[in-house]
Subunit: 411 residues, 2 copies
């Protein structure tokens, strides 16, 4: 991508009402644009990072047998009345609207009910089970307060997978498989070292749910971490009984602020009961379907990564989700020409800062602010040795590579 | 994909209130699920076809310099008041909702206003122009009547590109480039032969807008086509004056029912005036930005293609947008084993019908209903010659290929 041809520009300041560091950087670097509190557009750089996060999650969901679909945002009220979640007092984050043709609609804050309803058309026998389906879909939640930039918003991207199993045993097997898959995902996203499976409050069908919490000062949760075992307990269930249950030694636990980046729930029969989702077992007996739900918010994850990995110069993206891998700056006529050649070899990997209006120092500052993993400089000086200078955004380490070495890296 | 592991099933009937043939087939084949009138979920097969359509459009939009972003559905009212389109009497398709924190919001039926507002942060000089940005985004339109399945809905996927130019000349150049790009897109989508650039009513800044109309009996428009010149006129501007203007001979025009699959508009200064979007020209003088908009609805296009290319057995997809290219059926123990091997070589291209519960005839009927371009049969008989039988869904033509020939096609 040539910066001279991209419409966004970096800015020195962020909107005054923006508190979180990640949001300030994302706004200043041109990743997002604030429509209003809790509602952000994704500009081209932001779209690329968001899509890379989505693609990693998609690959892992496919690897455990997930089928991708896309439900609608507009929701008729009947399926939600069946589960008693239409009422604003029961679910207080509804955005509701009216159909010109008559009737009230809601904007989906989640999709248990409508998907359970869909499955009534497709599940009749034990032979149809288990089923694992997921989607990437915009969710709408009418939060009273929106804060922390894209970490908690009113309109956001969500990956939600739902499992439909014959019984608890079949459910548990997939539940653990998905938990392992989440660990893989957070490793690939570059926050594996600081993300922990965390016991949190469950529901009627299980003592606990599992959250995936990333240690992060801007997080809204408090967790107690057993670093050796790599598991944590959410403050909400941090009691002596629970610690005992889990065999955790209070004296060994570290207290941390953390941000929830994923969660998995045993839903049990809650929705299959409400919507009468059944199957006939091998003996021809009608049985309720046993359900689970498994969420990761790609936009929230993007915010948490931006928050956690940024430094005083700006964003610092892990390679796998950076919008581009290299930020190439040519200095001097020959340097600019060589830089342009490198860009044309891999325009999907490279931001070419070919702006005439910016000084070299500004270009370097923007490379840092945008958090591109490697800054590559080509000048008369480096070209005298037939080399380019590569600086690692995260470590600050600089080294020289020959043009041929760098060209082989990108092609 | 193995059919035994996919949750959808074909059905013999569609919902009774569904009128359009395309919707009936898409529902019966498990591509979509009807939430309510004008609101459809995309099931795995439907998602794949929709995503393939989106990817074709994305490639062509990138090729003409478009940058992809994603605006929000939730819309604050102020920018829409500036253009006088907040009022339900002016724009009657709004879905509106209320923020718990106070205030009214709308669900975007289109994005001229918010995007014009975004550009105020990024456009200041003639050096910033032109800018071309686009998105794939869910649009919400509160239609009084929803009909024709996914061809006219209340929640749908839209590609909308917006151009920001220094002046009319710069605008016109891109406008024609985009019109050419649309022709390429419809060719790649397999409906190029029956899709025509069509003169339709313009606005304050141009006599005409351009629609892209596909001849289709289920369409809602009437067009008058000059087949030799490959252009048409929408009934709404079909007057002697207009024909004269365009040098069209009334006696040569064919009247057709048609479905609008794309449109491009010269917006001129309409929104830059309303929202005061300006730039400084080379002489430092403030000038209004000249705008255009360019839409294609991928979900509507999917409906039109389904409608147009289906036959009495079901859907018929062009290869580029079929969810899978081959539908492989193994007959007999050895046939099934060979079929499974082929599937594993290219699971992204092949539906393996490995259902134990379905007879061969049912499998063939489902292959036809789903509209997969090639049905591949492997039986003891074909294996005796080391061959597979391939049937073309569109032409009905059948031929035998050696296993090696077929394997080289898919890998």
């Amino acid at each position: 991508m040539k910066l001279s041809q991209s419409f966004t520009k970096t800015t020195k300041t962020a909107p005054a009402d923006e508190v979180s560091q990640s949001a300030k950087y994302l706004l200043r670097a041109g990743y997002i644009y604030k429509e209003m509190a809790g509602v952000y557009d994704y500009l081209p750089l932001g779209m690329r990072t968001l899509e890379k996060i989505i693609q990693i999650i998609r690959e892992e969901m496919n690897a455990i047998g997930g089928e991708e679909l896309r439900m609608t945002s507009l929701q008729p009220k009947d399926v939600w009345e069946a589960s008693n979640r239409w009422d604003d007092k029961v679910m207080d984050v509804w955005f509701k609207t009216k159909l010109n043709a008559g009737g009230e609609l809601g904007l989906a804050p989640t999709h248990e009910e409508p998907l359970t309803h869909v499955m009534k058309s497709y599940i009749s026998s034990y032979k149809d089970l288990p089923i694992y389906v997921y989607q990437f879909q915009t969710k709408f939640r009418n939060e009273l307060r929106a804060k922390s930039g894209i970490m908690r918003t009113r309109e956001f991207m969500m990956k939600d997978l739902y499992s439909f199993s014959k019984n608890r045993e079949e459910h548990n097997e997939f539940y653990e498989k998905c938990a392992d898959s989440y660990i893989k995902i957070f490793n690939r996203l570059g926050i594996g070292d600081s993300t922990f499976r965390t016991f949190a409050s469950g529901g009627s069908f299980s003592k606990f749910s599992d959250e995936f919490q990333t240690i992060c000062d801007a997080g809204e949760d408090i967790i107690y971490l057993d670093r050796e075992r790599g598991i944590a307990v959410n403050e909400e269930v941090y009691t002596d009984d629970v610690l005992n249950d889990l065999g955790l030694d209070k004296s060994k636990l570290e207290q941390h602020k953390a941000a929830e980046v994923g969660n998995i729930f045993t839903l049990g029969y809650k929705y299959s009961d409400a919507l009468d989702l059944c199957y006939n077992d091998e003996d021809g007996k009608r049985q309720k379907v046993f359900m689970g739900s498994y969420g990761i918010g790609p936009s929230r994850v993007m915010g948490v990564i931006a928050e956690k990995l940024s430094d005083d110069k700006g964003l610092v993206w892990p390679e796998e989700i950076a919008p581009y891998k290299y930020y190439v700056v040519g200095i001097g006529e020959q340097g600019e020409a060589e830089a342009a050649k490198l860009h044309d070899m891999a325009p999907e990997d490279i931001i070419l800062d070919d702006r005439k209006s910016a000084r070299t120092g500004e270009k370097f500052a923007d490379a840092d602010l945008m958090g591109i993993p490697y800054r590559v400089v080509i000048s008369d000086k480096t070209l005298a040795e037939n080399k380019v200078e590569i600086k690692n955004r995260q470590t600050g380490e600089t080294k020289l590579l020959t043009l041929t070495e760098f060209a082989s890296k990108i092609s």
